[in-house]
Assembly symmetry: C3
Homo-oligomer: 195 residues x 3
Amino acid sequence: MIAGGTFGVLLARRKGMDLVGVFSVACMTAFGGGTLRDLFLDRYPLFWIKHDHYPLIVFGLALASSAVRKIPQTLEKALYLPDALGLGLFSVVGTEIALEAGTSWFLAALLGTITGTFGGVIGDVACNEVPSLFRSAPLYATCSFAGCWIYLLLDWLAVEPLLAVVIGLTSVVLMRLAALYWDIRLPESSPGTPE
Amino acid sequence: MIAGGTFGVLLARRKGMDLVGVFSVACMTAFGGGTLRDLFLDRYPLFWIKHDHYPLIVFGLALASSAVRKIPQTLEKALYLPDALGLGLFSVVGTEIALEAGTSWFLAALLGTITGTFGGVIGDVACNEVPSLFRSAPLYATCSFAGCWIYLLLDWLAVEPLLAVVIGLTSVVLMRLAALYWDIRLPESSPGTPE
Amino acid sequence: MIAGGTFGVLLARRKGMDLVGVFSVACMTAFGGGTLRDLFLDRYPLFWIKHDHYPLIVFGLALASSAVRKIPQTLEKALYLPDALGLGLFSVVGTEIALEAGTSWFLAALLGTITGTFGGVIGDVACNEVPSLFRSAPLYATCSFAGCWIYLLLDWLAVEPLLAVVIGLTSVVLMRLAALYWDIRLPESSPGTPE
């Protein structure tokens, strides 16, 4: 979540937004995916309303960031690992929650992936950018989706819940770091039709 | 739905997105309108969670499309009829659902139109384009809205439900095809104020 | 609400949209913030479905605007006061509703601010613009947020509810007009990292 919020802060700063924008985009990036999942599954109160210190943490983050004039260029790289951890955790927990709500396996994996990745999509859209998730870049949603299926398999094999979460999360992190390291990506689609 | 999903695929491919983007945009285009209606009316489970083979079909569509290198230029034209059918069906069924939920006539027609047309709006926004629905183009939302009122009238006249749906749907299809054929459109608004 | 809808109309006209676009953007601007609040708090029916003449009013506004060829340049300035009133009312009432739903103070102020300001964000995003709320401009969300806290303080002091609403609303209006008059704004964030 912290990593998600920080990416939101970086994105908003690149756009030269003021504190309102930085905080809003950070919240969207951090909470957007889980909010969609909760809305889709009719799960109330929403997770950030239930755990109401989450928005406070992001508010502190946005405030603190405004005191920092110069962000070291290495920060984005330093965020790769915490971001991959957040991706893994959100994906696997999202899958678990969807499964508990009685969805099919495919939907559970889909909702897990949405939980893990759509915060960034909402943040990008609000900043008037084509979502980076949709462009050809080192695998992100694919790692999340694969990790959700690993979790589903372990759950089906009746592996101890906590262990299943840890293995699912770890596999997402490893896939994501591998994709970054070897620059593995899905091919761009060709428009197919001349415009 | 298939037509909606296919338009999403075409849109995402024009943007050079990868499979994640193609699938996501196809889902937004196919399910966005109905999801908004279900969220607005507190109708759970959402229709694509209840009928959980819908996302699977769109997933298959996105996968299949990635195998096709060259999309024939005539495809968009070939989609006019199925798309008009989908527009009519979604609009009329959306109106029916809203009416059952106890809304007024105007709101029922509005929610029917949202069901029929807002998938495309969400897809366009996610692709960072001004929604084509909002620009001056051959009548689309207008056909949907008029068809919703025709359905409401028939419902008020106590016409047999299935017949009312079929007449409403058919009238949407005919209006849409006529609008395409004679290029009937609403006028652009003038900014009114010099910038 | 009227002011919010009118800003939506102006925005859509600057983009040269047709009536469908003008009405849609006006609705998003007028109802977007309250809809988010109601969805987040699981409050049904949504306020514009409960008070179903609201969309009709905006529809009339959009229709009427299409009859007006030339919008006087002074209109936007003339809207400052009604818009500030709407901002104040939506913010304070949003805070009250969130508080009743049992949220913490910080969340109540946040949801109040969302109610007051996010309609404009949704309208901007749908028109493919970076939300003006997020850019450095005369204080807007900040007035709303501060007014929400004033209301919360009065509520905590057990001030008579109606009086608390009026004081909260008035303070938002005064802060907003002061911010416009002296052009008070939050600083832009610096990207921090060279791109």
